[in-house]
Point group: C2
Chain length 199, copies 2
């Protein structure tokens, strides 16, 4: 493929499997790594080894951490009776960066999809139902993406939780902070208008 030595070819081939990188950008990235051997390639190789050894999924919520139970699930401070349901760990990180939610999470790892045979079991939904009583939960906040699949999944979860008599809410839809109306799609404007509040 590139006529480079075997290890370098292998590295390009593996890097090209990362989301957002294709064969060409993988070649560029590998050459960059080799040029920055001491500053970048060596620390990256070491850190990757560490993560390969230590990283694991929290058995309770699906978050990524270094122990069987993640830091958030292990922290008594986060036991405020609220669980925020997200599609994946990147969404959990986005919520944590906002520093506004003080409860725990439940990471689905995707959305329901008949096409890809992703059912409730694959999304840890039975485990979510168990957690409601185990962790004395009073509110589940559905923070799923505003896509058709995300909203279908949200409705399914709301149905499953309905008999438990707890509050089930979802993130408000509306105009993003700093957002300009002229840039928003019709759906967002419609949602924002319907959810309008008195000032």
């Amino acid at each position: 493929m590139t006529q480079a030595p075997r290890d370098i070819e292998d590295l390009i081939e593996l890097m090209a499997r990362l989301p957002g990188l294709g064969p060409r950008s993988a070649r560029r990235a590998v050459l960059h790594l080799i040029k920055k051997r001491g500053q970048l390639l060596m620390p990256l190789a070491d850190t990757m080894q560490n993560v390969a050894v230590t990283a694991r999924e929290c058995v309770n919520c699906g978050n990524v951490g270094t122990s069987e139970i993640c830091e958030i699930c292990a922290s008594a401070k986060r036991a405020n009776g609220e669980i925020c349901v997200v599609e994946d760990v990147a969404d959990l990180w986005a919520m944590e960066r906002a520093s506004v939610f003080r409860g725990r999470y439940h990471v689905l790892g995707g959305t329901l999809s008949a096409l890809d045979s992703i059912g409730p079991e694959e999304l840890r939904i039975p485990r979510l139902v168990e957690r409601i009583s185990e962790e004395n939960i009073s509110e589940v906040i559905l923070a799923l993406n505003a896509t058709i699949d995300g909203q279908t999944t949200a409705h399914y979860i709301a149905e499953q939780l309905e008999p438990l008599g707890i509050a089930v809410t979802s993130l408000a839809q509306g105009v993003p902070v700093g957002g300009e109306l002229d840039y928003l799609d019709d759906g967002t404007i419609t949602a924002a208008l319907r959810a309008r509040k008195a000032l």
Copy 2:
């Protein structure tokens, strides 16, 4: 930044330094790696370690390899009296993929730039001049990018080689104005090499 464990934060921060990846795509890539721990993260970490240990620049031509002298410089078959001068190793790989050039290479590692204080020494141009007699070279093919910097560098090199009385040619037909070699298909590179012209 993400509230992930230290090692995972470090991995995201290092990945974000790769060309073509920003913080957001680095987070996605790291989550993907953790999900594909056995199939992708572990082989990638191992291969990266191997490359960190073995990869080096050929002292003769600047190509990347696993020994002091790269495979192309070490191969007697490639001693056909021709040297192809390229800006970087990605361009050498692009030439090799086209399988049309049978000589050796000289990798500049960039182009002349007064702004970035990149002079002839930084681009291994003195070493190129030495190689002409050492390797009994009869033709130097300038395969630089069709950019202003690439062409300025090509003219400078042609001037340096002029007293040596060898043929100095450059890729011509098929290289689009403003185009970069690494983007071209094999056929275009082949056509450009076959239509090379004396400077």
